[in-house]
């Protein structure tokens, strides 16, 4: 699916998501399933926190030497008989993939799950070129037949309920018996397996992403539970790997460190079911495997991120833990974020890739509770990076006028303590009197945006600063009274 960017309409998207009952039902399961499994997996491994440090350090080292590891990786792919293509932007990556498919005479292409393909809008482009892309990850298949975009980076169809899936399967698999029972997830899975098995065997080209690229050996790695990406890169004559620059790691030992934190952070498994390491095309004497192996390495703005604070974002290994633990993601789901990458990682990455002009809403869609950073396997300081975007947004005068004026108004008082303290005390005193009866306000002047979704609790009568001073005074008095005993 080529994704239309709706990030600038985040607020409208979020309102619609909050009112979408089936979506809310589906989202209610996000926290329940992922959070408990991750914490149980982490608790079972005493070295988990040390492994997070190790994962962070490996990524930092690689990014600081990225040009050299890219060189080495390219040499090794070529030595293994594969091809490496560099793409500056999305359009170039699409063209390279389409050209390889055409040269392979491809009519159908199977796809393992790849977020890079979503980022470059590959499917629409292939279809326009007369090549049929078939998503094989069950979740990706579900959203492909619905014409939707993924709403989660590892569970793309997390926004759907089984009743919706049944409806879609009856519509799309019209050649199957209409009276068949599809009421349970097991029968839905069995049907998808049957339908996709034929597609796996018929495809001319297989396209996968890469969780990691290993410089030491020129290897691309994918991690799946279904085995779909692994079939995608084993069966067709041509295998194309789509990967962004920052997937590089130096050695097999380094990738083993990262794999120890990836599945635990993502699904709470010690290890995903299939971890497949592919190096070049089939060798002399091999009886299966692809005959051609291509890697497309996409920049699309990432090299620029290496220069500043956002380099830290390039450590991301796409586990999804940050969105699983995010109260905003849990409330509105992934589509509201309006582009490919949702949740906290999307709130940092999206403005970097599509521009702060279009992405400014996303780093503002955070309570800064810090849970994303607390669970990130490579310790990306996501709240800090979101704050950087807010600063950039403000510097560039992208912040809406009422907010800017409001902040300026507040800043006028905040810089003048002699004015701020009595003014706020007066306001709090007034509000506490006004709201005494109910204990809350359903509406407040100038705060309509806030009270639209929740009540404002009645202040308890005085400001924090005033209470703090009162307490300090009381303590000081207490100490002078007890002074002789100390």
């Amino acid at each position: 699916m080529s994704v239309q960017i709706t990030s600038p309409q985040f607020k409208a998207n979020a309102r619609a998501a909050l009112a979408d009952a089936p979506l809310q039902q589906a989202l209610s399961k996000v926290g329940l399933s992922f959070i408990g499994r991750r914490s149980a997996a982490a608790a079972k491994l005493p070295e988990f926190e040390a492994l997070r440090d190790s994962a962070r350090d490996i990524k930092n080292h690689t990014l600081a030497h990225l040009d050299l590891y890219l060189e080495r990786y390219e040499q090794q792919v070529i030595a293994a008989g594969g091809h490496v293509h560099f793409a500056v932007d999305a359009a170039e990556a699409r063209d390279i993939v389409t050209r390889i498919c055409r040269e392979a005479g491809a009519r159908t292409v199977t796809k393992g799950k790849t977020m890079i393909a979503e980022e470059i809008g590959l499917n629409d482009h292939l279809e326009a070129a007369g090549i049929q892309p078939v998503e094989t990850d069950l979740g990706e298949y579900l959203i492909q037949i619905r014409g939707e975009a993924p709403s989660h980076i590892i569970a793309p169809a997390i926004h759907l309920n089984k009743e919706q899936v049944e409806e879609d399967f009856r519509r799309v698999h019209a050649h199957l018996a209409p009276e068949r029972n599809l009421s349970e997830p097991t029968s839905l899975l069995a049907e998808a397996r049957g339908e996709l098995r034929a597609k796996f065997l018929a495809a001319d080209v297989g396209i996968t992403g890469a969780n990691f690229l290993v410089a030491e050996t020129g290897t691309s790695i994918i991690v799946t539970n279904e085995g779909n990406g692994d079939l995608t890169q084993t069966l067709p004559k041509t295998h194309i790997v789509l990967a962004s620059l920052e997937k590089l790691v130096p050695t097999l030992e380094d990738v083993s460190q990262l794999l120890r934190v990836l599945a635990r952070s993502a699904t709470g498994q010690d290890m995903s079911v299939y971890t497949t390491f592919s190096t070049g095309p089939r060798r002399a004497g091999d009886v299966d495997g692809p005959q051609a192996y291509h890697v497309v390495i996409l920049d699309n703005g990432r090299s620029g991120m290496l220069a500043g604070a956002f380099r830290e974002m390039l450590r991301c290994i796409r586990c999804g833990a940050c969105m699983n633990h995010c109260p905003v993601y849990q409330a509105v789901g992934g589509h509201a974020y309006g582009w490919v990458y949702p949740g906290p990682m999307g709130a940092v990455l999206t403005p970097a890739l599509i521009g702060i002009e279009k992405g400014a809403n996303l780093p503002n869609a955070s309570t800064f509770c810090g849970r994303c950073e607390a669970v990130c396997p490579v310790r990306i300081p996501l709240p800090k990076l979101m704050r950087h975007w807010r600063e950039k947004e403000f510097e560039r005068h992208l912040t809406p006028a009422p907010q800017r004026y409001g902040l300026a108004f507040w800043a006028f008082f905040a810089r003048r303590g002699w004015l701020y303290r009595p003014a706020t005390r007066l306001a709090m005193w007034g509000l506490s009197r006004l709201g005494k009866a109910k204990g809350r306000f359903a509406a407040l002047p100038l705060a309509g945006g806030w009270t639209k979704y929740r009540d404002f609790p009645t202040p308890q009568g005085d400001t924090f600063q005033a209470q703090w001073q009162a307490r300090r005074r009381a303590q000081a008095q207490g100490q002078t009274q007890r002074g002789g005993n100390r």
């Binding site: 589906a26 399961k29 005493p46 070295e47 040390a50 492994l51 190790s54 080292h61 040009d67 050299l68 590891y69 060189e71 080495r72 090794q76 560099f86 500056v88 170039e92 094989t136 069950l138 979740g139 579900l142 569970a155 169809a157 759907l160 309920n161 997830p185 839905l188 397996r193 065997l201 030491e216 050996t217 539970n225 279904e226 085995g227 692994d230 069966l235 130096p250 097999l252 030992e253 083993s256 120890r260 699904t267 010690d270 290890m271 079911v273 299939y274 971890t275 497949t276 390491f277 190096t279 095309p281 060798r283 091999d286 009886v287 299966d288 495997g289 920049d299 090299s303 620029g304 220069a307």
Partner: protein
């Protein structure tokens, strides 16, 4: 004309403030690749041989695979016949040309039909010989080659894997060391499959179900005692 490759490298180097020619940087990268330092290895993987085998068995089963521990490789054909019979499967299995599998006493299971070659998706059961087992996660390590088609790991409904107890390592890193010893530094077989349990998906309502696209069942035939 500047190629996209040149543009990307120039952009990366500009952002890093590097030319790519700095000797210390190049040395650091060369050392890292040549030395491939190990990072943090979980203590649970560092066990005496017998306990390591026990951990492997526990972890294989925890990943929803099944496991038979056989005294000798000679027991493998009969164990396969029994596995298929108990599940009402036809007594037919497809395997690679691996000499270790060819050398098994197939006559001990006379009713078992054994075919050799890659899978085209029509076989219910496939047999492979693992390069190694990994105790810390219950993973089997499969290397592709003329004798070991990767399709056998992924297409049959039931994947049976022979793992010799002597090949069970505690951790991933030990297996990389062995692969380097077998293939040379910087070289991997075309495909290395780490497999940890049977195929599964939780894409429908977060309900975990086995048998998505790969094998519905993974059965490990662990052979012999720890060394």
């Amino acid at each position: 004309m500047t190629s996209s490759r040149d543009i990307v490298f120039a952009s990366v180097r500009r952002a890093l403030g590097a030319t790519g020619q700095e000797a210390p940087r190049r040395q650091e990268v060369a050392d890292r690749i040549a030395g491939h330092p190990r990072g943090i290895i979980p203590a649970r993987a560092d066990l005496p041989p017998a306990q390591k085998i026990d951990l492997f068995k526990d972890m294989v089963r925890a990943a929803d695979a099944t496991l038979d521990h056989l005294a000798s490789v000679a027991d493998v054909p009969l164990a396969i016949a029994t596995y298929l019979r108990e599940r009402n499967l036809p007594p037919t299995i497809l395997r690679g040309a691996d000499p270790r599998l060819a050398a098994l006493p197939w006559a001990s299971a006379p009713n078992l039909d054994v075919w050799i070659g890659p899978s085209d998706g029509r076989q219910l059961a496939g047999l492979s010989h693992a390069f190694a087992g990994i105790a810390e996660s219950g993973t089997v390590v499969m290397l592709s080659g003329p004798d070991n088609p990767s399709t056998l790991n992924l297409l049959p409904d039931h994947h049976l894997v022979v793992v010799e107890a002597a090949d069970v390592a505690g951790d991933y890193e030990t297996v990389w060391t062995r692969i380097r010893a077998a293939y040379g530094p910087g070289v991997l077989p075309r495909t290395v499959n780490w497999i940890t349990g049977p195929s599964r998906s939780a894409d429908i309502e977060q309900t975990l179900l086995l048998g998505a696209h790969g094998p519905r069942s993974l059965h490990v035939l662990l052979v012999g005692a720890a060394l």
